[in-house]
């Protein structure tokens, strides 16, 4: 496979002026992985600061309700409340290794922004987070958390005022401040080497899951489910199972309000390959090649693109990509609250929603792992407004 590519997907579709920075990042990342002292520091942080390994919880009530053996990978129990911290701690050490003093990041739901602000606070580095103005409104608690952690949050007012504009603005900031600044990208997307870097730091989810399920069940799972926006939690749990062909991998995208373009974020299920924000990957765009508007109840999945490795896994047929609607997601959110006493992020609720949907059609007693990528405290405003909890 060509460097930086997954099959035909991936690459580095960025302005020429950014290329030296991507090359610098690539070689630093190679040296970083070989540096034993830093690797020990990262392991230590993941254990004592994040609380890893995260539990693989046998979901007793959901299991009996749906007739399978269902496990939840509890990334919601990580420090800062989602899987994002795995990546931000790894990358903040990489940034320090490279001598960069200024950290910039995009965020959708604010989970990556909070995790970046946290890591930057820990390392004493300046942190600027770009966030779509609409997301600033709908994920207000995370905005306040980032500010408390010392980060500057810049509300992006262009276009649809969501994640894609936040990504564009972060790239532009980087383009203007290459020598001082590290772009801490939050998902397994963008130009090479980001999809590799993010997968590298997130695959701990799948590595732990593999060990934990073998200890609990003495066999591999039949099915692994994860939600997909850019795709970092999904690639994190999929990667260590990729070669275990008996394990079915399913990515669940945001189906939003329905099928028309503009109403959903089902990039892999409904999009076509295209070039956007650094890579050649599946993409939602209009017949004239303009990037489509998107909608999802969850800000973290509200994005028209997807990481290139997922595009590759889709075309290989190794992973399946499906979508669920906002309503199905709210139902799953409530189900998990009531049946397990777990309040999941709306993003993660997508994976649960699809499980609820397909459970009756699966052979009985399947061993299923759902990546519960984050907790839902940030979503209270949205779910209450949608009429839940009344």
């Amino acid at each position: 496979m060509k460097k930086g590519y997954f099959g035909q997907f991936g690459g580095q579709f960025v302005p020429q002026t950014l290329m030296p920075a991507l090359k610098e990042l690539e070689s630093a990342f190679i040296a970083f992985k070989k540096d034993k002292t830093i690797q020990t520091e990262l392991k230590d942080l993941l254990k004592h600061y994040v609380g890893r390994p995260s539990p693989l919880y046998f979901s007793r009530n959901l299991s009996s309700k749906l007739g399978h053996r269902i496990y939840l990978k509890r990334e919601d129990l990580n420090h800062t409340g989602s899987h994002k911290i795995n990546n931000t701690l790894g990358q903040i050490l990489l940034a320090r290794f490279m001598g960069k003093k200024r950290i910039i990041a995009e965020t959708g739901a604010g989970q990556h922004g909070v995790a970046t602000a946290t890591a930057a606070a820990l390392m004493g580095l300046e942190c600027i987070v770009y966030m779509g103005a609409e997301d600033v409104d709908r994920q207000r608690p995370n905005v306040e958390r980032m500010k408390l952690l010392g980060a500057t949050v810049i509300a992006v007012e262009t276009g649809s005022r969501t994640l894609k504009e936040a990504v564009t603005e972060t790239f532009k900031d980087w383009l203007s401040n290459l020598s001082t600044t590290y772009y801490l990208l939050g998902s397994a997307m963008g130009p090479y080497p980001y999809p590799d870097i993010v997968r590298h730091f997130q695959q701990i989810i799948g590595q732990e899951t593999r060990r934990q399920i073998l200890a609990a069940e003495k066999k591999l799972p039949d099915l692994v489910l994860a939600c997909v926006g850019g795709g970092s939690n999904a690639i994190g749990i999929f990667a260590p199972f990729r070669k275990d062909l008996s394990v079915r991998l399913m990515g669940v995208e945001a189906g939003g309000r329905g099928a028309p373009l503009g109403e959903h974020c089902s990039t892999l299920a409904k999009g076509k390959p295209g070039i956007f924000q650094g890579s050649y990957s599946y993409l939602l765009y209009t017949p004239s090649g303009q990037i489509a508007d998107t909608h999802s109840i969850s800000a973290g999945l509200d994005y028209p693109g997807v990481g290139p490795e997922h595009s590759w896994l889709k075309d290989l047929g190794r992973a399946e990509y499906v979508s669920v609607t906002d309503d199905e997601v709210l139902n799953a959110f409530q189900t998990l609250c009531r049946s397990e006493g777990i309040l999941p992020a709306l993003e993660s609720s997508h994976a649960v929603a699809h499980l609820i949907k397909i459970a009756p059609k699966l052979p009985p007693d399947q061993i299923i792992v759902v990546n519960l990528s984050g907790r839902g405290d940030k979503d209270l405003g949205i779910v209450l407004a949608a009429g839940l909890g009344a």
């Binding site: 002026t17 030296p20 276009g159 295209g274 004239s288």
Partner: protein, 258 residues
């Protein structure tokens, strides 16, 4: 110095000239037509023809806002019809089409370029495809295509990187005047001169400078050592006031009025 038989006689249109960047369809195609006619009347016939894109990652706020508006209604065929009409009237231009990758990819690169080559498009500049991804461009259109690719260069490229880009360039090079997005004004003449001297030592190929050039006064010192200076953001600013203002601004660029 290497001779490159592929270079034209240094195309007289571009030589030592201000090059307007015209964003097609902004605010509408009628305005584009008026600007093109004005350019032709003023002898500004080497044009960077911008194709609007919803999410332009190399552009500053002014072009971004304009492109976002124009992208909602932009249609390659309508632009082609306009250029064909002008050509039929005898208004000839030498265009470089400047487009982000996805609109061109969606329209079908090979057939779109073939069509536009009939109406004066000779160069193609894709700001989100760097030289390192050139294999992707060769996948999109064949070497026999009448349209030549233009690579962007900048001060932060190593000498090796610069050498290989120059070697593979057969039309002209686009020097980005500073590291950042369009529409700021922060270039250093010394730096630009240094990069251009490096290029010219490798090959006698035209180099045009873009980003952050706002006026004829900005362009003149650059044109002392560069082969062209592109003005984009400031033309859009004028267009945001009125088409008349933009036409008057083009006059100042041509040197007809100060």
């Amino acid at each position: 110095m290497l001779l490159d038989w592929g270079l034209k006689a240094m195309n007289s249109f571009m030589k030592k000239n201000v090059i307007p960047y015209i964003l097609a369809g902004y605010p509408d195609l009628e305005a584009t037509e008026i600007l093109l006619r004005q350019c032709h009347a003023l002898g500004l016939t080497f044009i960077e023809l911008g194709i609007p894109f919803s999410d332009p990652s190399a552009d500053g706020p002014v072009i971004q806002a304009a492109a976002s508006i124009a992208s909602r209604t932009f249609d390659f065929m309508r632009l082609y019809q306009l250029l064909k009409k002008l050509k039929n009237e005898g208004l000839t231009f030498e265009f470089t089409m400047m487009t982000y990758a996805n609109p061109l990819y969606a329209a079908g690169t090979e057939k779109t370029l073939k069509l536009f080559s009939e109406v004066g498009v000779e160069g193609l500049l894709i700001p989100d495809i760097p030289f390192e991804e050139r294999h992707f461009i060769s996948m999109l259109f064949s070497k026999k295509s009448p349209v030549k690719n233009v690579w962007m260069i900048s001060e932060n490229l190593s000498d090796d990187e610069l050498s290989v880009i120059v070697k593979h360039s057969h039309y002209y090079l686009y020097l980005v005047s500073y590291l950042g997005t369009t529409g700021k004004s922060v270039h250093s003449l010394d730096t630009l001169k240094k990069v251009i001297n490096k290029v010219k030592a490798k090959k006698d190929i035209p180099v045009v400078v873009g980003f952050g050039i706002r006026s004829k006064a900005d362009a003149d010192p650059i044109l002392e050592f560069a082969d062209g200076a592109i003005i984009g953001t400031q033309l859009i600013n004028q267009l945001n006031s009125s088409t008349d203002k933009a036409c008057l601004f083009l006059k100042t660029l041509s040197g007809i009025v100060p």
